[in-house]
Each structure stands twice: as structure tokens, then as C-alpha cells.
């Protein structure tokens, strides 16, 4: 998405809303919020041209803490609302976000179908393996057999693989980040926003209140004899998920297969860009139908002086 620069330079501070934050102390959501604000400042986005949409959950409160247009929508429906917003005004940078329950559970249908459309937005999923706001039930990313302290019984459903799902659905930018590494997460978010098309960033997020399995210490490998991180960066191992020639179906398939293969690595877990391809966006496809949209956002087209008389005359 191309970004229009603000009249005067903006910093991280300009993206902070003056509102008391009610997340639990130490929540991974703080890291994601800070990463977003850092990325917005890095990209010099005009806050008046930025809209942040969220679902319902602890993570869903994020837009309230950001100084931009903020839409705190419904549980699971953030992508349709964000899509409507983006299609109505292509002059606005759209960032959507929500919990892993929100996006991969109740919102799974919209997660998949948004990939098919490739509307130009960034979607951040706060993957904490639990339903935070409803007090820690298993979310769709918790693996079978695991049990957090908030659960009375072990999970007897499999956890889904969001990266592989995103590949199958057609997202054109697929990445993973870690909430407590703000600098890296911000850089990934910035790349996701710059990407033209639907970008998924699955952000591994700690929930210190309900998730005692995937904690900061766990990710850091504090329990391992060699004390090594359970995370690594794809680029550090020479992996490059960016498609060079999107018109080459072989390369597209090879890169997708590579991304899926990496997405099944569980120790260490890869962070970074799994897959990226520059393919036609929904907005581009739409402006082939409605040429005026190539230069003017829908919200600014004059639709109030239409001549419908030929349509009526044809009915005589």
C-alpha cells in the first residue's frame, strides 16, 4: 500500500491515544501496540489517512490506544468491516487486527475468503493460544493435548496452522512475528503495510494471565539446558519467501510449498516473511470494472447525478 506523507513529520508519540490502558501487566498486546505505532512512524503515515479495525477480545481494544481512525467491531467480523472501509476509500491505509480466536475461530470464514480477494490491507493476529477476554479457554491455535492453567481439561481438538491456511487461502504476504520483540515486529508490520495486497502477520503473543505454557521464558528457552531461543528468523537461515516473478506459476508454487514446509517447524519456530508475491489486488481488479476508481476513491466519486432514464425507458 502506498502511503501519503503527513504535512508534518510524525513520531511514535503521535500515534498514542490519551487513554488509560486496561490490559493485564506484562500482556504481549503491549508489544504489538508499540510495534504498530513504531511502524506507523517509520512509514510516516498521516494519522488522518489511517484506519485501524479490530475484532472483540483483549486485543480488540488496540485501536482505542492508537491515535488514528479506530473501529472496534464485532467478534470475528473485523475483516468484512475493514474490507468495506478500504473499498469505500482507497486513500486510507487499513490495518485490521484481532485475537487468534477472533480470526481463526469465529472469523475463520472471513480469514479464508479475504485471502481470495487480496484487498490491500494488513491483518495482525494476536496468537496467544487462548481466548483472553473470556478468561482463557483454548483458542484454535492451541495444540491437541495441551492444557493451560485456565483450562479444566486438555485440548482434544487440533490446533490449526494459520500460515499454511493463509497460503492456501491466497494471502500475498504471510509473516510471523513475536510480540515481545518490538523492533523486529515493527519492521515486519512496516513491510506488511508497504505490501500491495492482503498481508497476514501472525504475531506470537504471550498471555501472562492465562497461558502458562507459551510464556516469555518458554519462547526464550529458559527451561532448555542450552538456554537457546525457541524462535529464529527465516532470513538468518538464508530463507527467502519473496516471489521474484509472479507471472511464473512454478515459482509461485515452489515458494508456497516452501512457506508451508517452514510453517510446520515447531522448534525453533521461524519468524519473518514466509511468503510474498505481488499479484493483482481486489482494488486493481475492481478498477478494471469501474475505471474511475483507478484515480478516485469510491467515497469521492459523484454518484448523486446519475441518469437512470435509459434504464427506465428500456422497460417500456
Amino acid at each position: 500500500m502506498s502511503v501519503e506523507a503527513p504535512a508534518k513529520k510524525v513520531s511514535v508519540k503521535d500515534f498514542r491515544a490519551d487513554l488509560h490502558n486496561d490490559w493485564c501487566p506484562g500482556c504481549g498486546d503491549f508489544g504489538i501496540l508499540a510495534s504498530m505505532q513504531t511502524a506507523f512512524a517509520q512509514l510516516q503515515i498521516n494519522p488522518d489517512r489511517l484506519a485501524v479495525f479490530s475484532g472483540i477480545g483483549c486485543s480488540g481494544k488496540t485501536p482505542h490506544y492508537i491515535n488514528a481512525y479506530g473501529f472496534h467491531t464485532l467478534h470475528g467480523r473485523v475483516l468484512p468491516v475493514a474490507t468495506g472501509g478500504r473499498l469505500a476509500n482507497s486513500g486510507v491505509t487499513v490495518v485490521a487486527l484481532g485475537g487468534d480466536g477472533d480470526g481463526y475461530g469465529i472469523g475463520a470464514g472471513y480469514f479464508v475468503n479475504s485471502g481470495r480477494r487480496n484487498v490491500d490491507f494488513t491483518y495482525l493476529v494476536h496468537t496467544n493460544q487462548v481466548y483472553g477476554l473470556t478468561k482463557g479457554q483454548a483458542s484454535p491455535t492451541l495444540q491437541r493435548g495441551r492444557k493451560t492453567k485456565s483450562m479444566p481439561e486438555r485440548a482434544i481438538q487440533d490446533g490449526i496452522n494459520p500460515i499454511a491456511m493463509a497460503v492456501a487461502a491466497g494471502y500475498t504476504f504471510i509473516a510471523r512475528a513475536y510480540a515481545l520483540d518490538v523492533k523486529y515486529t515493527a519492521s515486519i508490520i512496516a513491510k506488511a503495510i508497504q505490501h500491495k495486497g492482503s498481508a497476514l502477520v501472525d504475531v506470537l503473543q504471550t498471555c501472562p494471565t492465562y497461558n502458562d505454557l507459551y510464556t516469555k521464558e518458554w519462547y526464550e528457552g529458559a527451561d532448555l539446558p542450552e538456554k537457546r531461543s525457541r524462535l529464529y528468523k527465516l532470513e538468518d537461515k538464508g530463507y527467502d519467501g519473496v516471489v521474484k516473478d509472479p507471472s511464473d506459476p512454478q515459482e509461485l508454487i515452489a515458494k508456497k510449498a516452501g512457506a508451508v514446509a517452514r510453517s510446520y517447524e515447531v522448534d525453533p519456530i521461524p519468524l519473518g516473511i514466509y511468503y510474498q508475491a505481488n499479484l493483482q489486488t481486489y482494488e486493481e481488479a475492481v478498477s478494471e470494472r469501474i475505471p474511475a476508481l483507478a484515480t478516485t476513491p469510491l467515497a469521492e466519486l459523484d454518484v448523486f447525478h446519475r441518469d437512470v432514464s435509459p434504464l427506465l425507458e428500456a422497460m417500456r
Binding site: 481512525y69 472496534h72 474490507t83 468495506g84
Partner: protein, 627 residues
């Protein structure tokens, strides 16, 4: 002899083109200056099931159909005698029993029907060798051997035959058939269809004595053909005229046609139509778009509306300017009867989601009102107050083709010219940096100035949680009360704003002996029935409820309390409007004429039911006579 008063019907298996030929006939009559009311009856099926199309024609305005069929065109045997032979429970018994005494039946000699077996000795049978005539037409152009491939032409051929009975001028038909196949790729088909219809027309004249056929049809009084339209077309055009820029949908009968119609207009009219993954997506995408500065809309039917309810509450609490939801009712519950007519969704639309929230519901009674209410809906939603609005129709979408009354001026802007299409109440002044913009500012009329993403200095937050003027979440007692009052107060404002003639209609003499209360598409049938009763010296009037939320309770209560006798007419099981009236006005309507067999009221049924109540009888449920 009856001139220009014809009830014509064509029946056959779905997919045999009966709708095409019925619509050709209807348009041909309209162009010949006649008035038309046509209605299509079909199954949720692509091919094979019995369907039929009625076309009623007259010199004066028509708003309903009649039970008797003066000319029946049957493409198969089932149209004549029903499906009792091959189903455990027959769904119908054919249409022979509906043919008026002295009427005519045109049927395919290949249909395997022997008139001698019929007990209808009072009607005339006209067996026509449809395939033979097609073969003749093909032979003339050297293609006689391929006639089976042209079987689909049977419907046009049968139409041609049926019109010969009525001495209808063939030229009037010819031009419409030609129009139907206007496209270049139809060059051959066009000539063939006209020729085959002509052969059938002549065949009837040559082989039967039609001189005393009592139903005659000739040119009518209108010098210029009127617009002949279906509901979805008129509603689509109203949306275009109202400045709708964004329409979402998920396919569902009978609502899809509207979105497909609009899809075809995208390029010419700068309208974006998005086919969504489900109705939850449709409504929420439209809400997102409405918040972002376009007039947005979606169209659906009962099953889809049932999924949308969450988004409607969301639109309302976030005070979105719209979207406009068009609900085409069909037979419920659940999947119910997808292609059938019912008014079973009123109560659902009045309280679709959790909590108390404002929204508007209007129920237009005909095409003209559909145009008005659709157009106004956008203004009411955007310009004034209301976050969202539904229009509901009882399936005037597909099955009915008729003149939208005095819908003659294509520039007609709707009744609300004061509110021409524009994004009213959207503000561009925020007072700069020193003055904070509040999207949910508390104002005397409950309406806060609106901005949209992308506007300088207009940043706001919005949430489906209860919120403060800033749009941030609150659970505070005082603010909760203020916000509830702010939102709900918009209903009072709407009642003041919406012109009374769009709230309700009162038709007929004030001192009537019987007042009929109804809503939606039975309107036309009721008005036609009242006309019949009037000719018999009976005084009946009609209270049409049109604005359902907010409900004009005071006016409705006044009218009903003054009425001598009241009867409720609805196409549903439980008398849903009656329940609304009881709750809103305290007036209990005792007599109820209800119909819930998935078929609309005919004029005859309405006349009979109202006559019964007038005569002091107990009102009863009406059932379509199928045998």
C-alpha cells in the same frame, strides 16, 4: 363477448421458457396500450418442475391476479391435470379446473392429453402440433432435420397460437419477439421464432372455429407504452438514483436478482457490487463502507437476514449512516419455501438483535412505493439520524411484473425533495487542533456531526461496546443513560421527519362498513377487491401500514378506534402486523384473514373473504384452491 379483459396463463416444466413467452406477451400488451399484471409461480428447482405464469390484461389499472383462467397454454400434461400420478402427495391438480366457462385451452399434441377424458365440457380445446410447426419453420430455411434441437421454441409457438384465439393483432407480438432476440448472435433464432409463432397463429385460424371465442384482445387506451417492471429492477434503480455506491450480497432467492441487476450497472454508474462469502460478511462490509463515507446497501432474504442481525445491532450502536438492507421475504421458517411468497418476517425485522436500538423498517406496498421508500431510506439513514434501515418486501421481486402506477417521470426524485441525495450531516469542519472532534457528541436532536476516515482532523473511535462521546468504551451509569437516550430518541425524530403518506395509507371512503388492515404487497389485491365490492354497493376502506419502525401508533390507533368493523389481512400464519398493532396501540383486531400456503392472495379470494366478513361471518384462513 369480453373485450380487453383477459386472464391468460402458460404452464410447463421449469426451464421450458414459459417465463420468456409470458413476458413477451405482457410487454406486447403493454406496448399495445393495455395494462398488465403478471405473476410467476415457480419451484426452487432449475429444470423440470411445474411452473406457471399468469398474465392479466385490461384497459384499466391492474394490481392483482384472478383465479379463473380464460386462456390456458399448456406445454405439458401436468399443467392440465397435475402431478398426482407421479407423487405420493400431489402438490397440485393442474389448471384445467381453473379455466373459465367458455375459455380455451391451447396444448401440445405431444403432451399426451386426450380432451375426451376431461369432464370439462364447457371449455374449448385447441390441440396444436407445436413440434410440427417448428419443423415447418425450420424446413423453410433448410434445417428441417434438426427440429428437436429447437424444442425450446415451443413456448413462443404456443403463445402465437393462444393469441389467435383472442384475435390479437399478430404485429404487436412480432415486434416484441424480435426485441427479445435483439442481439446479433440471435439473427437466425429471431426470424425463426417470429415465423413459427406466425405459423401457429395461422394454424389456429385455419383449423378451428374461433369466431365466437368470447375473450377478445385488441389495442388499449395508452398511446405510449408504460414502464413495465419487476420489483428488483425498480428497487435497483432507486438505489442508483439515491447515490448508493456500494452494494454487497450473498446469493439467495429471491433477492439475488437485484444485486445482479446492479452488477450490470457498475461500469456505467460507478457503483461497486461485492459478492461476499456469507450474509454476515455482506452486512458488515456494508457497515464498514457506510462508516467510510459511501451510501451502502445490501439485499437478502429471510435466511440471510437471520445471519445479518448481529451486524444490524452493530450498525445501530456505532451510529453508522446506513446501510440500507433490502429484505425480500419468502416462505419460512428456515429454508422454508425459497421461491414462494409469505409475509412471515415482520416481527424478525422489528427486533432483529439483542438490546434496544433504533432502526427503521418500512414495508412498501407496490412498485411505486418501493421506489419511494428505497430512495428515501438512503436519505433517512444518511441525512438525518438513523443508523440503519430495512426495507421489506413480500417478494414483489420476481414473480410480478407490472406497471409502477404513475411512475412516469424518470427524474422522479422520491417524495422527499428537501432531502436530495447527498451525504448530509457529514461535516468537514472540526475547528482545527484546538477543538476536539467527537463522533458521538451529545446534541439536542441526538445527531452527531459525522466524519469519515481519510478526512483531515476528523479522527474518531467507534466501538460495538457502549461508549462515550469520544467513541471509547464506557460502563458508566450516567453515560450509558445519555447514550441510550441519544440513540433511541432518533426514533421520535424519524417519526417527525418521515412524511405521513410514507408512514401509512388510508384508501377508500371514511365511513366504510369495513376497514381492512394490511401491509406490503396484498395492497394491490385489496384495492382491486374493494373496487369489486364497491360495484356491489359495499363500502370498504383500507388502512395500509407502511412504516413499521418507528410505528405511527397514534394515527393507526385513531383510525382503528373510529372504524365500524376491522379485518386484518396478512400472508402469514400468526397475523404479525396484528401483533404489532396490539402492542403499539392496544387495539386488538378480532377478524383475521390469513394465508400461509406460500401463494399470494388472488382478487377472487380477497373478494370472497371480505364479503364473508362484511356479511357477519367469521374470518377464516384462505387456502389456494388447487383442485
Amino acid at each position: 363477448m369480453r373485450k380487453n379483459q383477459l386472464n391468460w396463463m402458460i404452464g410447463g416444466p421449469q426451464g421450458s421458457g414459459i417465463n420468456a413467452s409470458a413476458e413477451v406477451f405482457a410487454r406486447s400488451c403493454s406496448r399495445a396500450g393495455l395494462r398488465v399484471y403478471a405473476t410467476f409461480d415457480y419451484h426452487s428447482n432449475i429444470m423440470g418442475k411445474h411452473s406457471f405464469y399468469r398474465v392479466r390484461v385490461a384497459d384499466e389499472d391492474l394490481r392483482s391476479f384472478r383465479d379463473p383462467v380464460d386462456v390456458l397454454v399448456a406445454l405439458d400434461e401436468e399443467t392440465l391435470t397435475g402431478d398426482g400420478h407421479h407423487r405420493r402427495w400431489a402438490t397440485h391438480f393442474g389448471h384445467l379446473h381453473e379455466v373459465s366457462p367458455g375459455g380455451g385451452v391451447v396444448f401440445d399434441t405431444e403432451a399426451g392429453f386426450d380432451p375426451a377424458t376431461s369432464d370439462r365440457k364447457d371449455i374449448k380445446f385447441f390441440p396444436i402440433p407445436l413440434m410440427e410447426l417448428i419443423k415447418t419453420a425450420l424446413t423453410e430455411i433448410g434445417k428441417g432435420g434438426q427440429f428437436r434441437a429447437y424444442e425450446i421454441m415451443k413456448n413462443t409457438v404456443a403463445l402465437g397460437a393462444s393469441l389467435a384465439l383472442c384475435d390479437y393483432p399478430f404485429a404487436s407480438l412480432e415486434s416484441v419477439i424480435a426485441d427479445q432476440f435483439k442481439a446479433k448472435r440471435f439473427d437466425e433464432i429471431r426470424g425463426l421464432n417470429v415465423r413459427a409463432a406466425r405459423l401457429a397463429f395461422d394454424y389456429v385460424r385455419d383449423h378451428f372455429n374461433i369466431k365466437d371465442f368470447p375473450y377478445q384482445l385488441g389495442p388499449g387506451p395508452d398511446a405510449k407504452a408504460r414502464i413495465l417492471a419487476k420489483g428488483f429492477e425498480i428497487i435497483g434503480i432507486a438505489k442508483l438514483k439515491a447515490g448508493c455506491a456500494f452494494q454487497t450480497y450473498y446469493p439467495i432467492s429471491p433477492a439475488t436478482d437485484e444485486s445482479v441487476f446492479l452488477e450490470k450497472q457498475q461500469r456505467a454508474q460507478n457503483l461497486l457490487v461485492v459478492q461476499c462469502e456469507d450474509e454476515i460478511s455482506s452486512i458488515n462490509m456494508a457497515v464498514g463502507a457506510a462508516h467510510t463515507g459511501v451510501r451502502a446497501s445490501t439485499a437478502t432474504s429471510g435466511p440471510g437476514f437471520a445471519l445479518m442481525v448481529e451486524g444490524i445491532g452493530f450498525a445501530s450502536i456505532t451510529e453508522a449512516p446506513g446501510p440500507v438492507v433490502t429484505l425480500y421475504q419468502r416462505g419460512g421458517p428456515s429454508t422454508g419455501m425459497p421461491t414462494r411468497q409469505e409475509q412471515g418476517d415482520l416481527l424478525l425485522t422489528l427486533h432483529p438483535a439483542q438490546g434496544d436500538f433504533p432502526h427503521l423498517v418500512t414495508a412498501p406496498g407496490d412498485l411505486r412505493e418501493s421506489y419511494q421508500d428505497t430512495f428515501s431510506a438512503f436519505n433517512w439513514a444518511v441525512y438525518t439520524t438513523i443508523d440503519k434501515l430495512e426495507l421489506k418486501y413480500d417478494k414483489i421481486e420476481r414473480g410480478k411484473l407490472y406497471h409502477p402506477g404513475d411512475f412516469t417521470d424518470p427524474q422522479f426524485k422520491g417524495p422527499h425533495d428537501g432531502f436530495t441525495a447527498q451525504n448530509g450531516h457529514q461535516t468537514t469542519q472540526y475547528g482545527g487542533a484546538e477543538k476536539e472532534y467527537l463522533r458521538y457528541a451529545l446534541t439536542p436532536d441526538g445527531i452527531s456531526p459525522r466524519s469519515r476516515p481519510g478526512q483531515d482532523g476528523g479522527r474518531f473511535w467507534t466501538t460495538s461496546d457502549e461508549h462515550e462521546p469520544s467513541g471509547h468504551i464506557t460502563e458508566g451509569v450516567d453515560m450509558r443513560i445519555e447514550m441510550m437516550r441519544k440513540r433511541m430518541g432518533k426514533l421520535d425524530l424519524a417519526l417527525k421527519l418521515i412524511p405521513e403518506d410514507q408512514q401509512l395509507g388510508l384508501w377508500g371512503p371514511a365511513d366504510a362498513d369495513l376497514t381492512v388492515v394490511s401491509w406490503g404487497s396484498p395492497k394491490g389485491t385489496i384495492l382491486d377487491a374493494i373496487k369489486v365490492l364497491e360495484a356491489e354497493g359495499k363500502k370498504v376502506n383500507f388502512l395500509q401500514c407502511r412504516l413499521m419502525r418507528p410505528f405511527p401508533a397514534r394515527r393507526v390507533g385513531e383510525i382503528l378506534r373510529k372504524a365500524k368493523k376491522v379485518v386484518l389481512v396478512e400472508e402469514n400464519y400468526s397475523g404479525q402486523l396484528g401483533q404489532v398493532i396490539a402492542t403499539e396501540t392496544g387495539f386488538m383486531i378480532q377478524e383475521r384473514v390469513l394465508k400461509f400456503d406460500g401463494r399470494p392472495f388472488s382478487e377472487d379470494e380477497m373478494v370472497k373473504a371480505l364479503s364473508n366478513v362484511l356479511a357477519g361471518g367469521k374470518a377464516e384462513a384462505v387456502v389456494t384452491v388447487v383442485r
